[in-house]
Symmetry: C3
Subunit: 260 residues, 3 copies
């Protein structure tokens, strides 16, 4: 059993530093079913951290790609037949091969068909559900409060990583608040999607899904702060955050992490 | 009835400054059916100006997205079955809900099937047709002259926004020339497509389509000039124009606008 | 018959400088069937060098686009039905119209269906096969050695352009090693894909496929070195290499080319 100290803010920052190092050392393969807008940026974010992204959606080959991957992302941002079929195969393969996977139910608050599909997928056991406040409310039929997150995570047996002005990470027992990040992150498309890919990457090297999710959100948030200091607007910010992820080191992470 | 002064160059520059401010204050939702190359850049341009972009093409949900949007862009740059079906639903929904919409008939000069589809769409009443010289000639069976633009716009009951070394904006009665912009804009893919998305955004906050179109082209053109002053080539220019749109203010717009 | 001097390292660097100039002077049309991740970056790389990219995949129009293009790229990075059908039409059209074409068999080492499709395409006579070490081994059933490249190129009657820490270019008789480039190139998605598009562009202005391929790889590699000197990480590197391609000149190419 884990010691209480492992759940401390300091321990989560250390876990983030450790995961950062492991990503670079091990270069995990992360397969991403993601939306058309996010594909390029997501691939570059993963590459910047030493991961090997793949993005195929083809029914004839996605099983093989997922079977040989270390983590899987399913992002619903482009909700077409091809991706729905790819998701069925990918999730089956991930379950059989014990490949950890993350669901990012983009815009379920604006589309009933997506919400329905997301609910089916949640029943199939994603390790992490990464979403924003409006999306959580749509799926949980409840306002996004810390208690609601913990209850939902416990009921569904997964970790919830909720992004917003502050990020919240909950499993059925633990809850952390991460106050890193910068307002410019909301002005760059696919920033949340890339963050979800980073959560998937963290799952590839850290079996504790709650710690992995928190660590990934700390990494993105601190990189966002570093990038904002160099940016003149959202254009240069989107470039600078990739540089920041590439150059990030453990001491910077630990010094900047704002976890409670 | 509008006063003559409203059609003056100075009035258009003021309208652009006003629209810029309204976009940031109101954050309109702009749904974009656009090509695969342009999706990411278009989303980032809209976000930089405070808009909320969405890009779904899925037949099962696009109606809902458009019904709750403040403007619609239909860009033919990727001419696949999915987008054609999405366009049918989106245009029907826009017409029923009085959502203003822009047609960008990319490459109709190089593809007869696109030109045919564009003609059908023009018959369904887009508020604005945003295109370049070659595309206009292909659709209007006429060289792109100021008189031809005004005649075509009057005949089709829409506003024509034509981009080129200088931009022309015509409805059936009014004609403006905008001499803003920079040569690097032609060296970045999807710049015109993003400009069309910005025209759609302007329609969301300004009911006079001619003024809205001119204002959007002034905004893009001035941002291009600001960006060019900071750029070392088309790569850094594409980044800098997003920053410039984010940082643009009314006095800069009015000082730089070159409208006749 | 060509003089031995034409095959010298110095001659290849001069050929690269000449091709760079011709691309800008002639602005060839390059049609790209490429993967969703690479489309935007590829278009911007081609535009930076003065080319006119097009990317349609639509069966109803791709024949016309290819027939009026000066070169064709077929990249298998997104392996969907639409692109496979587009490829059939495009390759037929290219063969009939003597449009030179390049095959980039992305990830054939990780997908048997792709490897099968790539083998069929190789039988249809691409001018150049542009790939990495793992992909070559998967297709040639052989380790990637200089002798294996020359033998394979001779057998298939094409030029092989193999990218890696050093690039190798072989036809059935000639072999060159290019030691340009920078480690950051492997940290930006679609860099290899854009390189393949540049090989296609070079074929549009230089009929000797071996020289054209080597020249394109020299151009990309030298631009990568110039960009790395200005970059703080892979984000700014991806921007800087587009600027570098735009600003590259013959003397810089000749001074930096590392050909043996």
């Amino acid at each position: 059993m884990r010691s209480p100290d492992e759940f401390s803010p300091r321990a989560l920052a250390s876990a983030a530093a450790d995961i950062l190092q492991q990503l670079r050392a091990r270069g995990p393969r992360v397969h991403c079913i993601t939306n058309a807008v996010a594909q390029n940026f997501t691939a570059n974010v993963l590459l910047a951290l030493g991961c090997v992204p793949s993005m195929t959606l083809s029914a004839g080959e996605i099983g093989d790609f997922v079977a040989h991957s270390d983590a899987l992302l399913v992002n619903l941002g482009t909700f077409d037949r091809e991706r729905r079929e790819a998701t069925e195969i990918a999730v089956d393969t991930a379950r059989r091969g014990k490949v950890p996977w993350v669901l990012d139910p983009v815009f379920v608050d604006r589309s009933a068909p997506r919400a329905g599909f997301a609910r089916v997928l949640i029943g199939r056991g994603p390790h992490v559900l990464r979403l924003n406040r409006a999306e959580f409310s749509a799926l949980a039929d409840s306002a996004a409060t810390p208690d609601a997150l913990v209850a939902y995570a416990g009921d569904k047996n997964l970790t919830v990583g909720l992004s917003g002005e502050t990020d919240w990470v909950a499993d059925g027992e633990r809850f952390a608040t991460i106050a890193n990040g910068h307002a410019l992150m909301a002005k760059v498309t696919a920033m949340g999607c890339a963050g979800s890919a980073l959560v998937a990457a963290a799952l590839a090297v850290e079996p504790d899904t709650w710690s992995a999710t928190a660590a990934a959100l700390i990494i993105v948030g601190v990189a966002g702060e570093v990038a904002a200091a160099r940016a003149a607007g959202p254009g240069s910010f989107a470039v600078a955050i990739v540089d920041a992820l590439y150059n990030l080191d453990g001491p910077t992470l630990i010094a900047h992490a704002k976890v409670t």
